[in-house]
């Protein structure tokens, strides 16, 4: 690839920043540097990448659900270094029975909505995120839509509306 020298420079910078943390570096299919860490080292990794490797912005936090396999969730944090014009993806695998990760809202406040979305769609919790609640679905919704076992057409999609409608009707009938 034509970007090979830049790629090498990025990897050296990351390796230097992450000295002493248990991690593997690899290259994904699109040529981006990927760092695999476990759950306990995630926060420290992100902190060092921000402070010592210049990754000033978080681009997205999302998860991949590999359902029958365990650990099923692969949570990806992608970071962007404004000054170096490069990116890194930090991947962490978590089990389906205890999907929790440390939050990085204290590092980048912009991660707030991303983590809320990830929690909403996959049910992956983020420790240390105070306002962790659903983002896109209603707050009373019971399911996590992007999990593989959830059907595309949903489970009782109109349940909340019907409850609201019944309550409204009962209130009106009591008052009239």
């Amino acid at each position: 690839m034509s970007q090979a020298p830049a790629q090498r420079e990025t990897r050296e910078r990351i390796a230097k920043a992450l000295e002493g943390i248990d991690h593997q570096t690899s290259e994904s299919r699109d040529g981006m540097t990927c760092v695999d860490v476990d759950r306990d080292g995630l926060h420290e990794t992100l902190l060092r990448l921000r402070d010592f490797a210049g990754f000033s912005q978080i681009t997205f936090v999302t998860a991949i659900d590999r359902h029958p396999a365990e650990p099923r969730f692969e949570v990806a944090h992608q970071l962007w270094a404004c000054a170096y014009a490069d990116r890194v993806r930090v991947r962490t695998r978590v089990n389906g029975d205890d999907p929790r990760l440390p939050s990085c809202v204290d590092l980048w406040p912009g991660a707030g909505f991303m983590e809320r979305e990830c929690f909403d769609m996959f049910g992956v919790g983020f420790d240390g995120h105070e306002g962790l609640k659903r983002l896109l679905m209603p707050e009373e919704y019971e399911h996590h839509p992007l999990r593989k076992e959830f059907p595309h057409q949903g489970i009782e999609p109109d349940k909340l509306y019907r409850e609201w409608d019944a309550a409204r009707r009962a209130e009106w009938e009591a008052s009239s």
Binding site: H152, Q153, D158, L160, Y161, R162, R168
Partner: protein, 219 residues
């Protein structure tokens, strides 16, 4: 401005309503149909085409419907433009309830007509599971010409209503099912109460045609 058309001038076959009422009906209908105030519920892509419709090229002011008000209390035509989700459904129903009678609904685009391309967990499969719809407009999004056509069709429909009949034969004693204390009024008698209890993914039961000038709900 449309003329006083002959179809509205035909006498009504009731004991109380005679020639005078027919003339008055025609006058009221003529006023109503040429001064529809739309409430543009611009939810998604169709909202942009709705803006284009109000904009300079299509200019629905030519049909007397340019006074778009974003307060439902001032409007009599709800244009549901775009994808309605179950999260938004409560707001949509509330807006409909807050609109004063008489009121009409245009479902603009396939999403609001039938769910369209979104057969997913979050989308209402057609707003007619919440509201009575008068005109459906297909297209994703429909061109503004198509929505103007829907507007003209709705105007034709308004022409056939008998607004004074209820005044002459006394107010309806039955309360509407909207929960707002409104009386049952003929333009919205097309929706049956049981429609709300239908599961949106269940196959559609054949619907009776909207009753244009009837006294009761069609059974």
């Amino acid at each position: 401005m449309g003329p006083l058309t002959p179809s509205a001038l035909e006498p009504v076959e009731t004991a109380d309503a005679g020639f005078l009422a027919t003339r008055a009906d025609a006058l009221v209908n003529w006023g109503r149909k040429n001064s529809l105030w739309p409430m543009p519920l611009g939810l998604s892509c169709c909202g942009i085409e709705l803006m284009a419709m109000i904009g300079p090229k299509f200019d629905i002011a030519r049909f007397g419907a340019e006074a778009a008000r974003f307060s439902p209390r001032q409007c009599d035509l709800l244009i549901v433009a775009g994808t309605l989700t179950w999260k938004m459904a409560q707001a949509c129903r509330t807006i409909y309830d807050q609109m004063p009678d008489p009121k009409w609904v245009i479902a603009m685009g396939v999403c609001s007509s039938s769910g369209g391309m979104y057969d997913s967990y979050a989308v209402v499969q057609g707003v007619d599971s919440l509201l009575p719809v008068d005109v459906y407009v297909p297209g994703c999004p429909p061109r503004p010409d198509a929505v103007i056509d829907a507007l003209l069709k709705l105007q034709k429909r308004i022409e056939r209503e008998n607004p004074l009949k209820r005044v002459i034969s006394g107010p309806a004693t039955e309360l509407d099912d909207t929960g707002t204390g409104a009386r049952v009024y003929q333009p919205n008698a097309a929706v049956r109460r049981s429609m709300l209890d239908r599961h949106p993914h269940a196959p559609r039961a054949p619907r009776p045609l909207p009753h244009p000038g009837g006294e009761e709900e069609p059974s």
